[in-house]
């Protein structure tokens, strides 16, 4: 980790406390670095101003590439590269291309979407991200601030006033 960050974070015991706190932070225009939770908390995204994920658009594009690859590939092979008559069918036997076209559509969409997910999240085999608090993956809900972005004291007073059970500083 080349860039060390000084952060202040508060831990909440319940997702409802967290949601209330994030709402307060939004109203106070505090600059939250990130929120970490043990499971997906619904209702958090709009409060944090996160735009909807566009992964499913990616899935459509990858799927379309799969459709074209399969269909055009089989078309080229059976009409141009090596035409053979199978079972009295025409070279360009569209109905019997459908199953493989469908399967490759699904395959391309799935692999493309999953790979995209890990790449844009910066996750993958061998990635070591700094651990803010080991209880975040257990039962604590964390709001983290960068020290530089918040005037000293603003973050602490926000965290303590919104019911954070613990407040810590850390360099990650």
């Amino acid at each position: 980790m080349a860039n060390h960050k000084d952060i202040i974070y508060g831990l909440y015991n319940d997702e409802e406390d967290l949601l209330k706190a994030v709402e307060v932070a939004r109203d106070q225009h505090l600059d939250i670095m990130d929120v970490y939770t043990p499971f997906p908390v619904h209702g958090l995204d709009p409060l944090l101003g996160l735009s909807e994920s566009r992964l499913h658009i990616g899935a459509f594009i990858y799927g379309a590439i799969g459709t074209l690859t399969a269909f055009l590939g089989m078309t080229w092979i059976f009409t141009k590269d090596w035409p053979i008559v199978y079972g009295g069918k025409p070279y360009w036997a569209v109905p019997s291309f459908i199953p493989i076209t469908f399967e490759l559509t699904v395959l391309f969409a799935s692999i493309g979407m999953v790979v995209t997910f890990y790449v844009i999240c910066g996750l993958g085999p061998g990635v070591v991200n700094p651990t803010i608090d080991t209880r975040i993956t257990d039962d604590k809900f964390c709001i983290a601030f960068e020290k530089g972005a918040n005037e000293s004291g603003a973050a602490e007073s926000f965290l303590s006033s919104t019911g954070a059970s613990e407040i810590h500083s850390k360099t990650i």
Binding site: E15, E16, D34, V35, Y36, T37, P38, F39, P40, V41, H42, D45, L48, L50, E52, S53, L55, H56, A59, M74, I77, F78, D81, W82, I84, Y86, G87, K89, A93, S96, F97, P99, I100, F102, E103, L104, V106, L107, A109, S110, I111, M113, V114, F117, Y118, I120, C121, G122, L123, P125, G126, N129, T131, I132, T134, R135, I136, T137, D138, D139
Partner: protein, 576 residues
Amino acid sequence: MSHYVSNIREPLVNGHKSYHQITEDLVAPTEKAPNLPWVIGFVLAVSALGFGLFCIAWTIWHGIGTWNLNRTIGWGWDITNFVWWIGIGHAGTLISAILLLFRQKWRTGVNRAAEAMTIFAVICAALFPGIHVGRAWVVFYFFPYPNTRGPIWPNFNSPLLWDLFAISTYFTVSLLFWYTGLVPDFATVRDRAKGIRKSIYNFLSFGWTGSAKHWQRWETLSLALAGIATPLVLSVHTIVSFDFATSVIPGWHTTIFPPYFVAGAIFSGFAMVLTLMLVTRTMLKLEDYITLAHIESMNKVILVTGTIVGVAYLTELFIAWYSGYVYEQFAFFNRAMGPYWWSYFGMMFCNVLSPQIFWFKKFRRNIAITFFISIVINIGMWFERFVIIATTLARDYVPSSWSYYTPTWVEMGIFLGTIGLFFTLYLIFTRVAPVVAIAEVKSILKSAGDQYTGPNAIHHHGHDNHGAHASHTHKSSVAETVATAVAEKVATVVDDLKKLEGIGPKVAATLNAAGINTFEELSNANVERLQQILDEGDGNFMGNSPESWPAQAKLASEGKWDELKDLQDRLDGGKY
């Protein structure tokens, strides 16, 4: 969570779990040394696998002639087992994809294990085409690699090639789905681990942090994968059925095959999920997460799909008669009355009749009966594939070439080996990864935990204005209880509450402290109040459920010890 949950919804997480307790319970199997049943199971599974590998080596060394296939019956146990395993693999994706789209919360208890089962079952299935080809060392001839004979392509019009694409896609998508679900849970294990385990689990968890944006994308990914895996799961067994349905063999050449195969696949898959989950929940002590509600839901799916399969069997018979086509008519007459009549009636009994017992709620919620029926269905679905494959081939168009087929020890050994492989992989999985999806169970806790919904719920949802009020009354009621207890203590006789099932010395002491000393007092207490007393008391009573205590105490206070004994025999640790 603030969304409305009907009161009649049964809780899906029992034992008043906190988020931390869920982590503790579900990570525990990966942190402890395995118990004796696991070790015994593992040794048996590896032995079966070892014998299977020996039989595979025998087949490859001596050739396919070591199997009893003949010119008439070219497909036997190999393809039967292949289709059986592929079918079993279908429940995993059904649970993870289709039930996710339907927002069925009970999927969270079983999806992880069911997806793992899918992957392992597909591995077992894929083994059979691999060795059936005969000369396995030149299996690369299948692939259009550059070679001196010119650019030879596979036949894309062939259902067998469609099958290859379908199953490889299915395996890949299932694996991606399963692993992406596992990543946050591996992070949970990582954050509790030390030393080399921490490094390993960090590698497995891909550096997961739990950031809000990551969770948002993770949910989008799960939903989109579920959306495309749903038609996929329907397509896979459809294409497997095309292996048969596109042929010109009477008995195979039917348009009913795709839906009938898909229903049968889901049916057999759920039977195998039940077999596994009933063992897993006992072995890993997951009864609070894989509850009777889960088992009942799965039994309902079994009843529906089993009945669909039954309708399909009867439709086949009707259409064979109605078509007026003598070869088709003979094929079906031969299935029921020919040399393999026993497998046909075995199939009918196991698949169509046996699941009908699940019309009764009592049986749907009975663990022993569910386990027994799940095994019966596994056997029945194997018979189904055997009936379709072997009985059809045994009597072909030319009576002079009619034949009969029984497997050799090599074929049986390979089948046994795949069962060994399946259980070896599954047992390793239970020690390495959380068998129940931790993050997903936590996310349904507020709407499906038994402290929030159902008969044992404590009515203090913290997120609204009632919260303060409710917890106030909650405290004062306990204070009252204690006050009454002190007042009455002078005159009361103290009964031995430990005589009731589910009450140990610590619980008895807690109840006494709260003023419940006699059977009569306990019989008059309501379950909710008892749960409050336990929650307020010193000590961890997560595993204690007071639901049966008043009923037991009533019998005890009336001196009906025999009836109490009967009741206790029916109870499971004090729970109904």
